[in-house]
């Protein structure tokens, strides 16, 4: 028996590893279930490497910039950039709030609340299997990041939502271009509603619009509807690039998202839980 185990050590270890991973896969199916502790632990160990590298890279870049730039001008510029960044985010959110609230006092209360609810984060790594599916940001649970928090780009366009695993200083964000993502949306001018799913190749599909519907046109803007209970309504998502009738019950509507993963350096996380927004 011992001799057999010694001789077949290699194949036995291979089988054990395969079974272990089959078990890991099977406990996650159907996909979308909670992340297991094993995955969270691995993420917590290895995502700080990306964080550290980006911080190191940024600090070297900053050192060089400080050396060649006039310090005061640079810091002023930085401050203004920060202000613009916040103002853009606020503007998008306020447009939505203003539509909903009518009384002046209520608007003023919301203004101060919104300022406190935006957290600026930096993307530190892209999905290693498909960069159009997820990204990792340099803010985690110690900054108040929680699952399902909404992420916007510098211009206030929708990027995605926080999913697990979330470590102390890092969190994973599912992009709207991921084929597993879903966002409740409607067209800006005609209010045709539907569900936006990513195609995994950088584009999205505006699904569940009946083939008989004549209201949608190419070039029309798509915004969040707020009906999914995660994304607040009124956030800019993208524009319709093609509408095809393929003989089925629904139209095939392709949407090009406004955010560009290639230029996704800084993002804004709305640090309010979906339940507080709705």
């Amino acid at each position: 028996m011992t001799l057999f185990l010694k001789e077949k050590k290699g194949p036995l270890i291979l089988i054990a590893l395969i079974l272990f991973q089959f078990l890991l896969i099977s406990i996650q199916l159907p996909s979308g279930s909670e992340r297991n502790y094993f995955e969270k632990a691995i993420f917590s160990i290895f995502s700080p490497i990306q964080h550290g590298f980006i911080s190191f890279f940024n600090s070297i870049g900053d050192l060089w910039k400080n050396y060649i730039d006039l310090r005061r001008v640079r810091s002023q510029n930085q401050k203004m950039k920060e202000e613009i960044f916040f103002l853009r985010q606020e503007n998008i959110l306020l447009q939505n709030v203003l539509q909903k609230l009518k009384r002046e006092k209520e608007i003023q209360n919301s203004l101060s609340e919104l300022q406190e609810n935006i957290l600026v984060a930096e993307t530190i790594g892209l999905d290693l299997s498909n960069f159009l599916k997820s990204t990792i940001i340099n803010k985690g649970s110690m900054h108040g990041i929680k699952k399902d928090m909404v992420v916007l780009d510098e211009k206030g366009n929708l990027v995605g939502r926080v999913i697990g695993p979330i470590s102390l200083k890092e969190a994973k964000v599912q992009l709207i271009t991921d084929n597993e993502s879903g966002v409740g949306v409607f067209s800006k001018s005609k209010s045709v509603s539907g569900l936006l799913n990513g195609d995994g190749n950088g584009m999205c599909f505006f699904n569940y619009v009946l083939a008989t519907n004549q209201d949608l046109l190419e070039g029309e803007e798509v915004i969040t509807s707020g009906k999914d209970g995660i994304f607040p309504s009124g956030i800019r998502v993208g524009k319709i690039v093609s509408i095809v009738k393929d003989g089925t019950l629904f139209k095939k509507i392709k949407v090009e998202p406004y955010f560009d993963v290639r230029h996704l350096n800084r993002v804004a996380v709305i640090i309010r839980e979906p339940t507080e927004i709705f």
Binding site: G10, I54, F57, L128, S129, F131, N201
Partner: protein, 159 residues
Amino acid sequence: MRDYIKIALSIVIVIVLYTSLGKVFPPLIYLFNFFSLIVIYFAIQKEEIWGACLGAACGLIQDSLSVGVFGVSGLAKTITGYLAGYLSKKIDVLSAFRSFVFILILVSIEFILWALLYSFVFSEKISVGKGTIFLQPLSTALIGSVTFSMLRATKKSQS
């Protein structure tokens, strides 16, 4: 002990490489499978058990830094690592050309396994990124064979 340090260092380098590629030009992430190179390199140096264990570890790290089902890359890399260790004992893969062909075949097998598992789990086709992903075995084999030759040359000169 030295081997474990080497492996840990290689994993850190690979994560840094992927982070840099993501910052420079994200589609480049599709082109290279650096984790597989670590698995194949150490599987050739050691044996199939090392290959399988390292394959599982590297695959799970890759899965944890990606979205999707945790374990898909792990499973594909475990089999690749085992194959790399087993086959390298039977055939000579030390010359640059042989190692190029060897890596090309192994990374292709891993890619097929991964694509099959992905399609099985998600019931849909993989995202091909305008076809760039199909170049992954070739570009990985190219960079792998050059790196392996350089590492061997360095080792030779040291000894």
